[in-house]
């Protein structure tokens, strides 16, 4: 591992609220430390070189999904990206495309995800609204629970949305995150919605039939979620509902 080398960061800078500000790339240099991540580097830059630099981190452990950005052409979580991964020591950072830009590397993924959840009704619609919480719970097949958790692992980082050319071209497209979540509730035996109900939400051009299977989602998802499988599953399910 190369220690003490100088890293060069090319960082997208733009403050849309600052009158007259224009998007630009700014170069910063920093001494690399062992085990350095983009999270550590950005904080050092902010503390030592430019306190106005905007970016988002919360858990800094790859759990919360706050810090997705495009690093040397690949959208990913910055907090768990080691700088040692880049042998040339050149790191270009861009904000995730396809989201409202707050400033520099900070984008409003939260607003996007909340709106998506409201639009697609991404919550469990239980078969009974009220259950008796004092009694023993209804059993669920252990395999089903395990499968649901697999799909529940999405951290809403926005990488799949930014990596999807279809989504970039068509604003109303629900993207992989929307379809993954629909698939998750469709598979949940506790959910009361029928195939027709789901069809109504995503059986259209903005949903599963608008997806061109470019697989930016599958190839970039930091949680390795099975987008390809799930979207294909939904598509078959929805096509089945056609006839």
């Amino acid at each position: 591992m190369s220690q003490g080398r100088t890293l060069t960061f090319n960082i997208f800078r733009y403050d849309p609220q600052e009158p007259g500000d224009k998007p630009k790339m700014v170069k910063y240099q920093l001494e690399e430390a062992p085990g350095m991540t983009v999270f550590i580097a950005l904080n050092m830059l902010r503390e030592k070189q430019d306190p106005s630099l905007q970016f988002d981190f919360v858990c800094r452990a790859g759990i919360c999904g706050s810090c997705a950005m495009v690093i040397n052409g690949y959208p990913t979580l910055a907090c768990r990206t080691l700088t040692s991964k880049y042998p040339k020591g050149e790191i270009t950072l861009m904000p995730l495309p396809g989201f409202e830009l707050i400033g520099d590397l900070s984008v409003n993924t939260g607003k996007f995800m909340r709106e998506l959840a409201e639009r697609l009704k991404l919550w469990l619609h239980p078969r009974q609204d009220e259950i008796d919480i004092h009694r023993i719970e209804a059993p669920m097949a252990p395999e089903e629970a395990a499968k649901l958790y697999e799909l529940d692992r999405c951290v809403e980082c926005g990488v799949c949305v930014s990596a999807c050319a279809t989504k970039q071209m068509r604003d109303t497209f629900v993207g992989a995150v929307g379809m993954m979540k629909i698939a998750r509730f469709e598979l949940d035996s506790r959910d009361a919605r029928s195939v027709e109900d789901f069809y109504h939400v995503i059986g259209n051009q903005d949903g599963v039939f608008g997806c061109m299977t470019l697989l930016g989602c599958q190839d970039n998802c930091p949680k390795d979620l099975p987008h390809m499988q799930q979207i294909a599953y939904l598509r078959r399910k929805m096509a089945g509902a056609l006839v």
Partner: protein
Amino acid sequence: MKLIYTDSLVVGAGLAGLRVAIASKERGLDTVVLSLIPAKRSHSAAAQGGMQASLGNTVKGMGDDEDVHFQDTVKGSDWGCDQEVARMFAHCAPKAVRELANWGVPWTRVTKGPREVVVNAQKVTIEEAEAAHGLINARDFGGTKKWRTCYTADGTGHSLLYAVDNKAISLDIPVHERIEALALIHDGTRCHGVVARCLITGELRAYIAKSTTIATGGYGRIYEVSTNAIICEGIGQALALETGVAKLGNMEAVQFHPTAIVPVGILTTEGCRGDGGLLRDKDGHRFMPDYEPEKKELASRDVVSRRMTEHIRKGQGVDSPYGPHLWLDITLLGRKHVETNLREVKEICENFLGIDPAKDWIPVRPTQHYSMGGIRTDATGQSPQLKGLFSVGEAACWDMHGFNRLGGNSLAETVVGGMIIGKYVADFCQQNTLEINTALVEKFVNQVRSEIDDLVEGQGSESAFDIKLEMQRIMMDYVGIFRNGPELQKAVDELQALLLRSRNIGLTCKKRHANPELVEALRVKRMLKVALTVACGAEARTESRGAHAREDFPQRNDKEWLNRTLSSWPSADATLPVLDYEQLDVMKMELPPGYRGYGINNAIAHPDTEKREQQISEILSQLPDDADRYARQHALMPFEVPPSLQEKNERLHDKSLSNRAQLGDEAK
């Protein structure tokens, strides 16, 4: 000045805050949640291991009930907790788990038949009952008698937070994201809301509400290395502290988690040890049995952390550029287990350490993890000093954790506390009116505005970043796992000096809208006050209890210190908090202070302890012979929960009993 009115205002959109918001909304109250970040990014998501609830479905949880959970919790707290609160909690925990199942949490379920598990480094086969098939499973966690920690693989916090936030979305509860509360609006007796700043536009807003619930999590980031998310900076506690009225409880009670990775301090779940992982030293020796022959790696967290530190001090640590560490070995669990049940751990090891935990040992050391202290509340979650101010979750000192929290009880507190306190918050909102005093509101908004003006336009020369780092280093060096008088005094002095310097912070970035430096400056001034309550509380408490371990006072001293530290901030100019103490009444305890089960029993007894023990056996002997455990408990320490939560919890065990009883009846 932008004013926003609501009934129930919640600051913080983690599990606890959202759960309270849901309870308010379900009562038909207008509800608004403020959050620094999108709700689903809250630190609740990081709780990997699980939440404790005595469902008793798995065979290793058979015989578990509220009583056992209560006892574990009280012992874990080193008798520092509020026992009535611990009872309320233990009683409602199974209800919360079952409710969450209906909100979409894919709890890991029990599979009937034989299952291989690792217990005490041995592979053991356990046989799950047919009747338990498909019911909610539980795993083993430190400091518990039974396997009680309900979980979803290793993403319990994540799946809970997502289910609860989804529920909040389905109820159309607005979450105002990227909004930071900077002051509470109050008149000295009643809280009326908060002054908050939009982190994007910089706009100042006043949120006026009947009830204000602070659910902003802990204050771990006053330490340089912490497992906490970087937003856990204790601002919620600072808001309450700065009122000069509301008090903080047990701020010195800070938990260090035994197994955070070195150097970045990211947590590897207690589930690693719960599932059978071991701690090893530089020689590969499994050292915990030497110190704690009975509980070994699964002793309470504070105990394991101290034993690890002791062992490192004996020179048995592994040297690294970042200081000595020990090893966590989960290789014996097998690859399949690691890749399914401990996958987050695997991801963290791969991404931050570049190792494969199914094959390599993980470098770990004890790291700041949890804040037992927080805004002192009564059993309904309300501040005893400031009406209308509620607090819940890690932000609060509701006080079910006392001086040490059990693994799996924090995640549980968020949803169980949120469920209980949410109902009390709703009651409060229904029983009280919105009081609007615009002059008062304006006063508080102006205070915050002039604070920002001073920072942006003033001549200050100190760097907010430097001061924060110095504070964090002081806390690491002097207010850590082992503490002593001289170092704590040093910490207090240096923090005090820093607080003075923080009044002279100047900014290089003068923007009034999105400005990270301004955010840092506003926070560090508040964090310093919180840090001072921790250091002062620790300095004053001349005993060792739970996570508070004084080298100069190694004994637990129930005679003098069976109390709760309360700190308040006397005035804006003050540089030190004022401490006073709230006594814990032994004569009301269901479980009088006793031996916790670790190391030697050297506690200095409270004079009432013996009296109370006698009283308890008298009370119990006077009960009729057929008195069940509920009646016995009630006779010793009655506790109250909201009416809709009072019913008894059904368990598989009860069910088979009642079935048998029914059969018996028919036979007659």
